[in-house]
Symmetry: C2
Subunit: 558 residues, 2 copies
C-alpha cells in the first residue's frame, strides 16, 4: 500500500501544499492558498494604521488558513485516504518572526495589541531595522565577538535580533508583553503539534546560534540594550533541533483543520531555500545548489568548519545533519533581466515577441544565443541591487562597459546574464579557496526552466556541469521528504534524509555540460570582471557609494 | 542699392548655396543639391568595381553640378540681379582630397584612370589609410619631428598625407600620373577662378603645414617612402593663403555654370567647421565655438602659440587671420543619443511619443528635465565612438555605472547627455590649463535647436553662458561672409572678416545661463568622471582595449 507525505511551503504571497508519494517522490497534486493580507506594507488591517516605508508585515492567521485550505484540497484532489499520509513537513521564508504569548497566541490577535505594528509578524523583507543591524554589527566589532566571522563579518537588518531590537527600541511594551520571540517556521509547527520547538536552520542562519557555541553572551545582549540582556533565557529556547527530527504529531485541532489523522508525524521546521537542497538530490559536499529566481541563493555542504569571508553564513546541521551548511547569495538575478526587459528593450523587439506569441525574454535569448563568447565586447558588474556575497555591500550599484555605436540590446542582455554568472564564480571561488570544495552545480527555482542560454553560460563560465532539479517545487518536495523522515521507516517513511533523497529526489536527464573552449574565453573576461569587482567593490574607487550618497542628499533637499 | 554674397557649403551627401544680404547678414534663400553619387563606399561608378570596407570616395563632377544647380536656383528664387552679387565663398568637408592633372582635371574623369579607385576623391571619412597613419606617426616619433606636438601627438588616418601615402603604396601609377594632390576645397575654387590656390585651414589642420615652419622636411617624406621625398615641391604648393583673402574672380565658364557675372570675387577656400566660427560671431579669443551634430567640433582662438596635449591641432591663421586657431573634438554626441533611442528605449516611451506626435527625444527630454542634478546616481563615460580629445584613442568604449533596479530610461538618457558635457569640460580645462582661455560657449549645428535640456546641462556643467548662433546654416553663412570680404569694401563688401562678422553674424537673443547651484553638484560628479576618465583612459586599467581585442579575435576566428 503506497504511503504519502505532505510538504507545505510558506512563501511571501501564498502558501503551497504538495502531496508526494513516499516511495518514488512523485508529486501527486498541489494546492495554493493566497494570503488574505499578503504583504502588509502600507496599512495595518482593521485599524488602517499607516506603516513607514521599508516595513513588511504579515498576518499569522493567514498561515493557519493555508493549512485549512491547502491540505484538505490535496486530499480531495488526489482521493487519497488521510490514513495513508504518514508525515507533514513545512518550510518558511526567513527570518520571518513574531512575538507570542506562552501558549503561542500571537500578540497581534489580542485586541489590546492589534493596533501596534510591532505585535505583527515581521516578514523577511521588513527592512526598517537597519539602524539596529548597524548597532549589532558595531557592538560586535567593538566587543570582538567571535561569531561575526561565521556570517562573513556582517549581520543583516533582515535577521532575528535586528528585528527584536527594533521592537525594544520602538515598542518596549510589546517586547515586555511577549513571552516568546519566535520564527514563523517554528510557530506553525507549534500550531500543528501543540509543542514549541526550534529548528537549527533559522537559529543558525538568522539568529546567531551555533551548535558549538550557542547564542551570543548575556554581556553582548546587555551591551545592545539593558532590556535585551536576558532575551535568550526569557524569550527564546536553547533546545535547538536539526532538520530530520520529528517535532511532534498533529493535535486533534490541527487534524480538524487539515483533514489528516491526529498523531500524524510533523517534522522540525525548515527554511524554503535550505529545504530545497536534498530535494535537488544533494546530501553530500561538492555539489552546490542554486535556488534561482529574482535572486539566487547558493548552498553547499562541507565536512568541516571554514571561515569564508563575505558569505551569508555557515551552520552546523543547518541544512543536512552531520554537515556544515554554507550559504551565499546574489541579490539581483531574475530581477536584473526583468529590469532590462522593462526599461531597456526597444519597441521592435517587443513587436517581434508579440508577432511570434513568445516572451521578450525568448526573443532576446534567441538573439543572444547566436553571439559568440566575447563577441559583444561588453562587461557588466551585476550590482543593480547591491552585492550580497562576497562584498556584502548594499550600496554598490550596477556597471556596464564596452558599448559602441554598434552595440545591440541582445548583447547587453547577454552581458547581464554573464555578469550574474561571473558573480556566482566569485562565490564558488571564495568557497573553494577557503576549503569548501565545489565541482558541480545543481539548479532549482524558476529561472533554469525559462532560460537555457543562462544555464549554458553558467556551465561555461564555471567550467562545471550544471544540472537541474526534476521538481519545479523543490521547497515543498523537500518539506514532504522531511515529513517522511519524521514518520520514520517503521511507519513507511525513511530513517534519514539521505535515504529519503535517494528514493524521492531526482534530477532532469538533460543537463548543461561546460564547453571548455568557451570557458577559455570566459576565463579572460572573468579576469577583467575580477579586476573591476575589486576596484569598485573594495574601496579603491568608491564612486558608486559617493553617487548614492549624493543622490540621497539631492532627494532629501527637495 | 543692397548687395549680396553667396556661400556654398559642400557637405558629405549634398551641397548647399545660401544667398545672403551683405549689409545685414540676412539669409535670403538657399538651395540644396544632392550629389548623384553621394558617398561611394561599395562600388565605383561605371566599372562597378568593389571597394574594401572603410573606403569612402566621391565624384568631383558632383561638386561642379552643385554650382550649376544651387547658384542659379538661389538667384531665381530671390529674383535678385546677378550684378548685385559681389562675392562667392565656399567651405568643404576636410580632409577630402583628389589627384589632378596640371590643368586641374581630376584623374578619375580620364578614361585610362577611371577604374582605379585611387583616382577618385578620397572623402574625409575614408578610413582605409590607417596603416599609413600609423607609419606617419611612428616615423615622426622616431625622427623626433617637432610638428607632432601641434597635433596632440597623433596624425589621423583621415588626414592628407595618410591618404597620399596610401595612393603611393597601392597605386603608385596614379601618384606618378598626378601633377597635383589637392584638397577638394581648393579644387572647387580653382574651378571657379581658373587659378590654383591653397588655403591655410586645410593645409594647417590636415596637411601638417604651419605658417612658421611650412611642411615637414624632404628627409621626413623620404623616410616615409622614396617616391614621396619631393611630394611638396612636385605635387603641392607652398603658396598657402589665409582665409579672408581673394582667390580670384569667376571665369566666363564658371559664370555660365552659375548665372553670376564673370569677374565676381571668389574667396580662398575654407573648412565647414572652421568657417562657422565667425558666422557664430566669434573673431576673438575666449569664446569657444561648438559645432554640435552627430559629433562635436570645438574651436577657439588664441593670441599666442600653446601646445595643448590631446587636441586635434592648432594652426596660425587657421580660422581667423592674426590668431592661432585651436581645434578639438568629441566623436560621439548626437550619435550617442540616437544610439540610445534606437537600441534602449522601451515601447511605452515610443507609444507616448506617437500619441503626442512628438519625437522620442522630446519625451525623454521632458522626463529627464524633471530630474534634479545628481538624482539618478548615474555616471557615464561618453566613449561609444572612442575618444577624439584629449585621450585621442579610438579603442576606448562606453561605460555607465550607478544603475539600480529603480533606474529609468530617462535617467540613462540624461546621464548620456551629462557625459558629453563632462567630455567637453575636460577639453575646456585642457585649453585653460595650457594657456588658451575660455569664458563662454557658442553653439551652432543641429543639436542646440533640438535639445534645450542639453544646452542647459552644458551651461551648468561648465559654469559658463552657452549662447547659440542665430543662423542654422552657419557654414554657408560663414562662406558668404568670406565672399563679401573677398569682394572688399570698395565693391560693397568688407575689408576684413572682423567687419563682416560685426554686421552679418548674430546670436539668438535667448541663451543659457549657468545655474551655479547645479554647477556645485556637477563639480562633484565631474570629479568622479575625471577619476574614471583617467583610470580607464590612461592605461591604469586597459579593460576596454583588451575586450575590444578579444572581440576582434573572436570575430576573426569564426
Amino acid at each position: 500500500m503506497a504511503k504519502y507525505t505532505i510538504g507545505v511551503d510558506f512563501g511571501t504571497e501564498s502558501g503551497r501544499a504538495v502531496l508526494v508519494d513516499v516511495g518514488s517522490g512523485r508529486e501527486i497534486t498541489s494546492a495554493v492558498y493566497v494570503y488574505v493580507h499578503g504583504v502588509i506594507d502600507e496599512r495595518l488591517p482593521d485599524s488602517g494604521k499607516r506603516l513607514d516605508p521599508d516595513w513588511a508585515l504579515q498576518d499569522p492567521e493567514d498561515y493557519i488558513r493555508t493549512f485549512q485550505h491547502t491540505i484538505p484540497a490535496v486530499l480531495e484532489q488526489s482521493g487519497i485516504d488521510a490514513g495513508d499520509v504518514i508525515g507533514v513537513g513545512i518550510d518558511f521564508t526567513a527570518c520571518t518572526m513574531l512575538p507570542v504569548k506562552r501558549d503561542g497566541t500571537p500578540l497581534c490577535v489580542l485586541p489590546q495589541y492589534r493596533d501596534d505594528p510591532h505585535a505583527w509578524v515581521k516578514l523577511w523583507k521588513h527592512h526598517a531595522a537597519q539602524p539596529e543591524a548597524d548597532q549589532i554589527n558595531q557592538t560586535a566589532r567593538e566587543m570582538g565577538e567571535p561569531w561575526l566571522a561565521r556570517y562573513g563579518g556582517k549581520i543583516s537588518s533582515e535577521w532575528f535580533f535586528s528585528k527584536v531590537l527594533q521592537i525594544i527600541h520602538v515598542s518596549p511594551d510589546i517586547y515586555k508583553a511577549a513571552d516568546r520571540m519566535i520564527e514563523a517556521a517554528d510557530w506553525v509547527v507549534w500550531q500543528l503539534t501543540g509543542v514549541e520547538t526550534r529548528n537549527s536552520c533559522t537559529a543558525g542562519y538568522k539568529a546567531i546560534w551555533s551548535k558549538k557555541d550557542g547564542f551570543p553572551s548575556r554581556e553582548y545582549f546587555q551591551a545592545l540594550h539593558p532590556m535585551m540582556a536576558d532575551v535568550i533565557s526569557e524569550k527564546m529556547s536553547t533546545d535547538i533541533r536539526p532538520a530530520g527530527q520529528k517535532a511532534g504529531v498533529l493535535t486533534p485541532q490541527a487534524a480538524e483543520w487539515t483533514g489528516l489523522k491526529p498523531g500524524t508525524a510533523v517534522a522540525i521546521a525548515n527554511v524554503d531555500a535550505h529545504v530545497a537542497v536534498p530535494a535537488a538530490t544533494v546530501t553530500e559536499p561538492g555539489r552546490m545548489v542554486m535556488i534561482m529566481g529574482t535572486s539566487t541563493c547558493h548552498m553547499v555542504l562541507g565536512e568541516s568548519e571554514h571561515v569564508v569571508p563575505g558569505i551569508c553564513g555557515y551552520v552546523e546541521d543547518g541544512i543536512i545533519p552531520g554537515f556544515f551548511g554554507y550559504e551565499a547569495g546574489q541579490s539581483c538575478v531574475g530581477d536584473h533581466f526583468a529590469w532590462f526587459v522593462e526599461n531597456c528593450v526597444p519597441a521592435d523587439v517587443k513587436r517581434i515577441a508579440e508577432e511570434r506569441h513568445v516572451s521578450v525574454h525568448a526573443v532576446l535569448e534567441e538573439k543572444a544565443a547566436a553571439l559568440k563568447v566575447g563577441e559583444s565586447g561588453l562587461l557588466a558588474l551585476d550590482w543593480w541591487n547591491g552585492n550580497r556575497s562576497v562584498l556584502v555591500d548594499v550600496d554598490l550599484t550596477g556597471m556596464i562597459l564596452g558599448m559602441t555605436l554598434a552595440t545591440k540590446p541582445e548583447e547587453i542582455y547577454r552581458a547581464l546574464i554573464e555578469a550574474t554568472a561571473f558573480g556566482t564564480r566569485i562565490i564558488v571561488e571564495a568557497f573553494q579557496e577557503n576549503g569548501v570544495p565545489i565541482h558541480e552545480l545543481v539548479a532549482c527555482g524558476g529561472l533554469p526552466e525559462k532560460n537555457h542560454l543562462l544555464m549554458q553560460i553558467y556551465a561555461d563560465v564555471m567550467g562545471m556541469p550544471f544540472k537541474v532539479s526534476a521538481s519545479d517545487q523543490t521547497p515543498a518536495l523537500g518539506s514532504a521528504m522531511f515529513g517522511a523522515v519524521a514518520a520514520g521507516r517503521a511507519l513507511g517513511g525513511y530513517d534519514s534524509i539521505f535515504d529519503a533523497a535517494r528514493s524521492m529526489a531526482t534530477l532532469k536527464d538533460e543537463y548543461f555540460q561546460p564547453n571548455m573552449a568557451n570557458k577559455a574565453v570566459y576565463d579572460r573576461i572573468f579576469n577583467e570582471y575580477k579586476l573591476l569587482h575589486e576596484y569598485f567593490g573594495r574601496g579603491e574607487n568608491d564612486v558608486m557609494k559617493r553617487l548614492k550618497k549624493l543622490k540621497a542628499e539631492v532627494i532629501k533637499r527637495s
